[in-house]
Structure formats: structure tokens, C-alpha cells
């Protein structure tokens, strides 16, 4: 075992020149000292205090109610080491052929806190933590039903990380489930660090350059439960405070929990705002390049005069202007994400206001470009999933580059290929652009473009799983039928 510094060896009873009857081994860094004291040391100490016979340690422990969560293992170094690294203590008793391993693990977990990535205005405030058992308990607390299945896997030759698949029997998409199970069993990683690492290996087999996330990362148990009840599958990884939902579609990545907690009309309005944000992020830089470089006469003359006036004194073409501002935007964005929260706000103010105002005053960029940059930044921040937001920004750059020589035609061609690519990719067999590309008419209008009242989509969608198709999530009372 390499003689680890946190390996503790307790002879029992405390040796006084004689061989101990038993030896207790554990790694002090990952075990609960109070459990060890209560279950193993206290009985010996109590016996010593009361001058009892402590020669038969095994009987002493049994007499004091030996912890029932123990299991017998081979008396081999490799087998014992495996148990020790899982936070168990191992009891070796003289004369016994087997050793006993008891779970006394104490991993240093944090308590449940509010979501940090997926904020919501209303709704539950608990978010996943690093402890996989706590995460499963959050789901079980919300679905107390026998059909909720939790399958366990162990990934990582060295990390031996526990991985769970959580789904609802009877609603799950069996093709997706089989693919997930097969790929999890085939995964041969050294150390598993995060859910996204495993999810990427599952959906892309680790060799795709696709920027669009084919799984949905979430830290909200309420979102997970709603997804599971639509036939999706959750992948949970121990030591990671996020789960990955399969399959993922663009629709799913644009849905937030607030959409469903708000009244239907408000939810629809918020969702449409988000889609408008997407359009602004994707097209605005390219359109600006087009109308200032190629297609001068596409807009009214008054507007073009305003654009020309704002660019007065700017010594280079519009696309350089766009590239400068977009690069600055990316730098500020990255700095804000990476910096500690205490000085993150300062970076935003310095970057956004001071640099923004200064570059306009010094005629490095036009005033309209500042407005466009602000709109693009805010538009990209409205997206519910950060990963797809980055993908859209990459597409936005590509469209702006195509607009340099070909103007609006370049944007049209680029958009066609982005759309074609989105139609092409699938998340574990489910088209990424469904229900739009699969033309599941009802699902498209009920819960993609709009968020209809719950009464009007009492039937589960069939986007993710055919098994969920036609099943009800809301039963109407007699005489309460709305449509």
C-alpha cells in the first residue's frame, strides 16, 4: 500500500508486550473517528475500565452490538486495501480466516445549497451536491414510486467512481437506455472527474468536434424529476454536483423551471424572450457586417446615414470593428467567470463601461457597435444552458466571417449549414432539433414554441420516449374536461 501517512493501525486490546488479539485498520482522512470510537474502541475501553476479560475481542464486539453493516473479506493485502480506500475500517482477528470490513466512511461533503448555475425566481432552492447518495435522495423525495429505478455502475480504473442511471420504468426510452448501459460498461477511463467528461464519452465517444451539447447538464432536482417523468434518463456521478440528462434537444436546453412555475402566458413570454436572445446573439454581428460592408442598400437611407455617422473617424472596415468588440466581449465574459465574485463585478464594470465608452470616444469603434455588442452579450446570457450559449457564439463568429465577403448571402448560406448540421446530429438516436425537425405538431406548439397551460398538455410529450407517448401526467376530474 506504500505506507500511507493516514493509515492508522489499532491493536486491540492495546498491546502490553503481548500479541494483540485483533488489529483495526483504517485511513484516518476518510473515516469517521466517532464511529470507530463508538463501535470498536469504546467496548474495549469499557471492558478495561470494568476489569472484564478482553482476551476474546470478537465476542466483546458481538456482545456490544457489532455494527451490522460489516462484510467479510479475504485476508489479503489487495482485498483489504480496496476496502480501506473506500473509507471502511478492517478488523483482523486472530484465529479468524476472514477479515471484517465495516463502513465508517466520512467524505468531506458540503451541505445542500441553492443552485449556483441555474437560478430561478421561484421554485425549490435545493441543488445537487457532490454526494451521489444525497442527490439520489433528493430525487426519491420527489418521486416516491416503485418505478423509479436507480442503476449503479463503477467507472474509472483508479478512481472507482460510483455512477448512477436514474429513470422511470415504463416511461423510459429503451433504445436510449440500452445505449447508455452499453457505453457505460464499455467505458474504460482512468479517473472520472466530472459528469460532463463521462457524458461526452457516451454521446460523442470522445472524438467529435461538435460544439453543441448532446446532453443537458443540470443541478436542479426539480428539473431532473420533470425530465425523468417525460422518459428521459439522468446520469449521476459521485463527487459531481451536476447530473446529465439524456437525450437532449435544443428545446430542452431552452426550457427553464421558471417557465412552468409562472403562469402559462408569462412562461411563454419569457421563453420567447430567450429565443429572441438567441436570434440576436447569432445574427446581429453578421448583419451589422453585411449592411456596413456589402449590402448597403438593404435598410432605409436614414438608418444607413446614422450607421455611417456613428462610424465616422473609425479607421478600418466594419468587420475589424466587430472582431475587436466581440473579442473584448469574450475576454470580459471569461474574466467574469474565472474571477472571484468579489472582484468579478469590478471586471465587468471596467470592461463594460470604461473600455466600452473609451473605445467609442477614441473612434476605435462606432457607437452602434457598442449597442450591438451589448445586445449580443445580453442575448447570449439569456440562454438557460451555458454550453449551448458558447456553441451559438461560435456560430455567430462563423456567420460574421461569412458576411465579410458575401454579406447577407453569406449569412444565409452559413445559416443553412448550421440548420443542416442541427438537423443531422442526434442525442443517442433522438434528433437534436425535435420536435421541430420531426414535426411532432402537438409537442411543437404545446411545449417548445409556447408553454401552454398544464391542462392543455396533460399528455406527456413523445419527443424523448415513445413509451411516454399518450400517457397522462394530469388526470382531469369528471366533467372537468377542458377541450
Amino acid at each position: 500500500m506504500g505506507n500511507p501517512t493516514d493509515l492508522t493501525v489499532h491493536p486491540l486490546p492495546p498491546a502490553k508486550g503481548t500479541d494483540p488479539e485483533a488489529v483495526l485498520l483504517y485511513l484516518s482522512s476518510i473515516t469517521d473517528a466517532s464511529k470507530i470510537r463508538e463501535w470498536f474502541l469504546q467496548p474495549v475501553l469499557s471492558a478495561l475500565v470494568h476489569n472484564q476479560d478482553i482476551s476474546d475481542v470478537a465476542e466483546l464486539f458481538v456482545h456490544h452490538g457489532f455494527p451490522v453493516n460489516g462484510s467479510t473479506i479475504e485476508k489479503k493485502v489487495s482485498a483489504i486495501a480496496l476496502q480501506l480506500y473506500e473509507g471502511k475500517c478492517v478488523l483482523l482477528v486472530n484465529g479468524q480466516q476472514k477479515a471484517v470490513a465495516v463502513d465508517v466512511s466520512q467524505w468531506h461533503d458540503r451541505s445542500v445549497t441553492a443552485p449556483e448555475i441555474e437560478h430561478s425566481i421561484i421554485g425549490p432552492r435545493d441543488a445537487f451536491v457532490e454526494d451521489i447518495a444525497a442527490n439520489v435522495s433528493m430525487i426519491r423525495r420527489r418521486i416516491r414510486h416503485e418505478n423509479l429505478i436507480v442503476e449503479s455502475f463503477e467507472i474509472g480504473n483508479k478512481s472507482r467512481t460510483q455512477v448512477n442511471l436514474v429513470y422511470m420504468k415504463g416511461l423510459v426510452n429503451h433504445q436510449v437506455l440500452e445505449q447508455l448501459q452499453q457505453r457505460l460498461q464499455a467505458t474504460n477511463l482512468d479517473v472520472l472527474l466530472d459528469t460532463t467528461q463521462l457524458a461526452d464519452l457516451i454521446v460523442n465517444k470522445g472524438k467529435s468536434f461538435n460544439p453543441f451539447p448532446l446532453f443537458q447538464v443540470t443541478e436542479r432536482p426539480d428539473k431532473v424529476v420533470a425530465s425523468i417523468m417525460e422518459g428521459r434518463i439522468l446520469l449521476l456521478v459521485d463527487t459531481t454536483p451536476t447530473g446529465a440528462l439524456f437525450p437532449a434537444t435544443v428545446t430542452a436546453l431552452y426550457q427553464t423551471t421558471d417557465d412552468y412555475y409562472f403562469p402559462a402566458l408569462s412562461g411563454t413570454f419569457i421563453r420567447i424572450v430567450r429565443y429572441v436572445g438567441l436570434l440576436i446573439t447569432l445574427f446581429l454581428p453578421g448583419i451589422y457586417v453585411s449592411i456596413t460592408s456589402v449590402n448597403y442598400d438593404v435598410l432605409r437611407i436614414q438608418f444607413m446615414l446614422a450607421v455611417a455617422a456613428s462610424r465616422e473617424g473609425v479607421p478600418y472596415p466594419a468587420y475589424i470593428e466587430v472582431l475587436i468588440m466581440m473579442t473584448l466581449l469574450e475576454l470580459i465574459n471569461e474574466a467574469t467567470v474565472r474571477l472571484p465574485k468579489v472582484i468579478g463585478g469590478t471586471a465587468t464594470i471596467v470592461g463594460g463601461l470604461i473600455i466600452g465608452a473609451s473605445v467609442a470616444q477614441s473612434h476605435l469603434v462606432g457607437n452602434i457597435m457598442i449597442v450591438i455588442t451589448g445586445a449580443v452579450a445580453i442575448g447570449s446570457f439569456t440562454v438557460a444552458n451555458y454550453m449551448i450559449g458558447v456553441a451559438w457564439r461560435i456560430c455567430s463568429y462563423a456567420l460574421a466571417l461569412l458576411a465579410i465577403p458575401w454579406g447577407l448571402n453569406g449569412i444565409a448560406i452559413g445559416s443553412a449549414f448550421i440548420l443542416l448540421f442541427l438537423c443531422h446530429i442526434k442525442s443517442l438516436g433522438v434528433p437534436y432539433l425535435s420536435p421541430l425537425s420531426t414535426w411532432q405538431f402537438k409537442d411543437f406548439f404545446k411545449d417548445m414554441l409556447f408553454r401552454l397551460p398544464l391542462m392543455l398538455h396533460a399528455i406527456r410529450p413523445s419527443i424523448y420516449s415513445q413509451a411516454a407517448k399518450g400517457t397522462k401526467r394530469l388526470s382531469l376530474q369528471e366533467g372537468e374536461d377542458t377541450l
Binding site: V298, G407, S437
Partner: protein
């Protein structure tokens, strides 16, 4: 991009139908007549015949060889090299059909997107269509569908007399 061995079930006639019909139908007959001559309106009936013939061929292939494409089936029936050749023929056909439909579809680019030169627009979009043809047919079907939902309404709106 396309992988010959993993290509899903194909419906080429449906693709042709989806590609050609909306664009040709969207143009007034007078434009068709002006563009390619008075007899060109009968082109639509040729397309229908092509669709029927293609569907029949597809059914025959499906019956004999399962769910594989015309290209893969021709490679199995005749020689292996027939498959890439038929793919090239398909790309040429697609390119030609795309060019023709874009020409018939009018100067969308020159008018709506102010490209100013219909010939360039036809060339560009034909190349784009041919590149798009390299994707599997399932992707193209989905793409056609999304375009019909998102873009076609705008296209028709642009061509309304009042717009």
C-alpha cells in the same frame, strides 16, 4: 457527413419532391413561362412521374434487399464500384435539379437579399445544395421540413402582391 455503410433508409423520390415542388409551385405560371418557355409548366408532371417511378423502385429495392438505398442496392446487385458512381450521379442530378429549381424559384437572392446578380445566386445556392446533398437523406428530409416551417412562410410572404 455521409457514411456509405451506415446510411439509413432512403427516400430519394420524396427528397426530390420536397425540393422541387414547393419552389416551383410558389412561382406564378407566368414567371415559369417567361423563364423557361411555355411548355415548361409540364415539368411538374414529369416530376410527379419521377416520384412515382422512384417510389416504385424504392419499394422494389426494399422488398428484395431490405432498408437500403438505391445506391447501396445497385452496388449489391451489380458491381461494388457502381455505388460511388451512383452517388456521383445522384449529386449531379441534385445539383442540376437544385440549379433548375433555384432558377425557376426566381431571384430570391437578388431581390430579397440584394445580391444583385441572379447568376451568382444560382451558382452559390446550387453549390450549397450539392454540398448539402452529401448529408444523409434523413438529415435532408428533416432540413427540408424545418425550412418549410421556418423559411417558406417568409418566402411566400415576400412574394405576396401586397408585400
Amino acid at each position: 457527413m455521409i457514411r456509405l455503410s451506415n446510411e439509413p433508409k432512403l427516400h430519394y423520390p420524396i427528397l426530390l419532391f420536397i425540393t422541387i415542388l414547393p419552389l416551383t409551385a410558389s412561382r406564378p405560371v407566368s414567371v415559369l413561362v417567361d423563364a423557361v418557355g411555355r411548355n415548361s409548366v409540364w415539368f411538374i408532371f414529369l416530376i410527379v412521374l419521377l416520384v412515382i417511378a422512384g417510389t416504385w423502385m424504392n419499394l422494389q429495392i426494399s422488398r428484395r434487399h431490405g432498408n437500403i438505398s438505391l445506391m447501396l442496392a445497385s452496388g449489391e446487385i451489380l458491381f461494388r464500384w457502381i455505388t460511388p458512381v451512383t452517388y456521383i450521379l445522384y449529386a449531379i442530378l441534385f445539383f442540376g435539379v437544385a440549379s433548375y429549381t433555384i432558377a425557376l424559384g426566381g431571384d430570391l437572392s437578388s431581390r430579397a437579399l440584394l445580391f444583385n446578380d441572379p447568376r451568382n445566386a444560382i451558382l452559390f445556392y446550387s453549390i450549397v445544395s450539392a454540398c448539402a446533398a452529401l448529408f444523409p437523406i434523413e438529415t435532408l428530409l428533416r432540413y427540408s421540413q424545418v425550412v418549410m416551417i421556418l423559411v417558406a412562410p417568409l418566402f411566400f410572404w415576400w412574394h405576396l402582391p401586397c408585400s
